[in-house]
Subunit: 236 residues, 2 copies
DNA sequence: AAACCCTAGCGCACACCGTGCGCACAAGAC
DNA sequence: GTCTTGTGCGCACGGTGTGCGCTAGGGTTT
């Protein structure tokens, strides 16, 4: 019985061997990111996250103030994935912005939980990684010929378009996922409802929903870029 | 003691007099809407909503399947507030779309909790009121000269822009509200951080943040409309 | 070597959440 | 009258975020 008090320390050492240096802000954020990617926003709780790290839920609070702060940190981490190209010639700004916008959209589609968090609490507003991305985008647009003030507005426009798109896209995709039906079935059922409602038969059918989403995104992006282009020409 | 069993019925009658016809789907949705407007998304729980209606939390489930369904219903209700003008001459489509977009933005700013819900679960995708609004917008754009397929894409573009904008706006406003500081102070603090980060002094200052947001929205909207316009001209 | 403090981690507890279940009672059907 | 139907409620279950106070170990100071 005299050995019993030492058991906790044995456990601690065992745990330390498994997880090299115990908990840490970085390890927590990384684990949260994996949990979110694997199981979605609802599956993230301090308890479930603690389990992933062989730690108690409240231990996390030594390294992270809030669940909200945690999410801010994770969101900023994934923002690191969006790539904004270097500014090239004055005429290639379109390609640069296009690439950046596609990269942002791809990032959110890779981590759909981000969309669920964007509208909320005001999180994630300006971690360093998002800051960096907008800074680079600003470079892209000033190189294109926009004055600083307008470049700022232009960025907001492009970002708003992309965010709005992915918000709708992820909402739809999550509905598809939860419904169990295929995307095609769901669309057809939907058109049926709408026909009943409006009494006019719905015309268009798309046999490849994912392709349609891509095309739709591209269309809108082109529209936005055309709009920016006219602003640019109007000045010259 | 023999009178005791009748007390509940007395209460019921009392409650019925206060609240004319007891609970009902409509009354519940209306109360939820008020609660959301008054106290925000986090304040809405089945219990708090029950309290507002002098009812137990679980009584609501007789009229509403889920909290999620409830939210869908409330969201669709506020969509009724967005006004899309009738299609006028072929040249006034810009004014029509502008009015619709402003109306949608104004609605969300009136009910900021909507933004917190948009990205999530896939709720609110197509209640009758949202359906009606898009239908009317479709009319606006086909009257402008778009073919049905393109009109659909054009709607998506405009909607995505507006949704993206209000998402960012409400997130920012909620951060301002929670921080306790004024918007101006917060902006200055932010610029300071960014200067430290990028080593370049931030130039622009806006002394009226609300005005700036309006201008920014208008700028982006004009860009989108210009983009649509070029598409329209290119055809003619 | 001994005394100290600092901190990471944990368990407990609190107040709250969404919601399934079964009972009580009012209103209408026969 | 009895019977059915539907409405509301209380209870309970298994979850949530997080404050509090304890322990035990590592590092620093004497």
């Amino acid at each position: 019985m005299s050995a019993e008090p030492s058991i906790p320390s044995v456990w601690a050492r065992e745990a330390a061997r498994r997880d090299p240096q115990g908990l840490s802000r970085d390890r927590i954020v990384a684990a949260a990111r994996r949990l979110l990617d694997d199981e979605g926003l609802d599956a993230l709780s301090m308890r479930s996250l603690g389990k992933r790290l062989d730690a108690g839920a409240t231990s996390l609070y030594r390294h992270v103030a809030n669940k909200d702060e945690l999410i801010e940190l994770v969101v900023d981490e994934v923002y690191a994935e969006v790539e904004v190209p270097d500014p090239a010639g004055r005429d290639e700004w379109r390609d640069g912005v296009t690439a950046a916008a596609r990269s942002l959209r791809a990032m959110v589609l890779r981590h759909p939980w981000v969309a669920g968090v964007l509208g909320q609490v005001g999180l994630a507003y300006l971690g360093p990684n998002l800051s960096r991305a907008s800074e680079r985008m600003l470079g892209l647009l000033t190189a294109a010929g926009f004055e600083p003030g307008e470049a700022d507005l232009a960025i907001n426009t492009v970002m708003a378009y992309v965010i709005g798109t992915v918000t709708s896209e992820t909402a739809w995709l999550s509905l598809v996922a939860r419904s169990g039906k295929t995307e095609q079935e769901l669309i057809e059922g939907l058109q049926e409802v709408r026909e009943h409602l409006t009494q006019t038969p719905a015309a268009r059918e798309h046999n490849d929903a994912a392709r349609y989403r891509d095309d739709s995104f591209t269309f809108g992006l082109e529209v936005v870029l055309d709009g920016l282009d006219t602003r640019l020409r109007r000045k010259a």
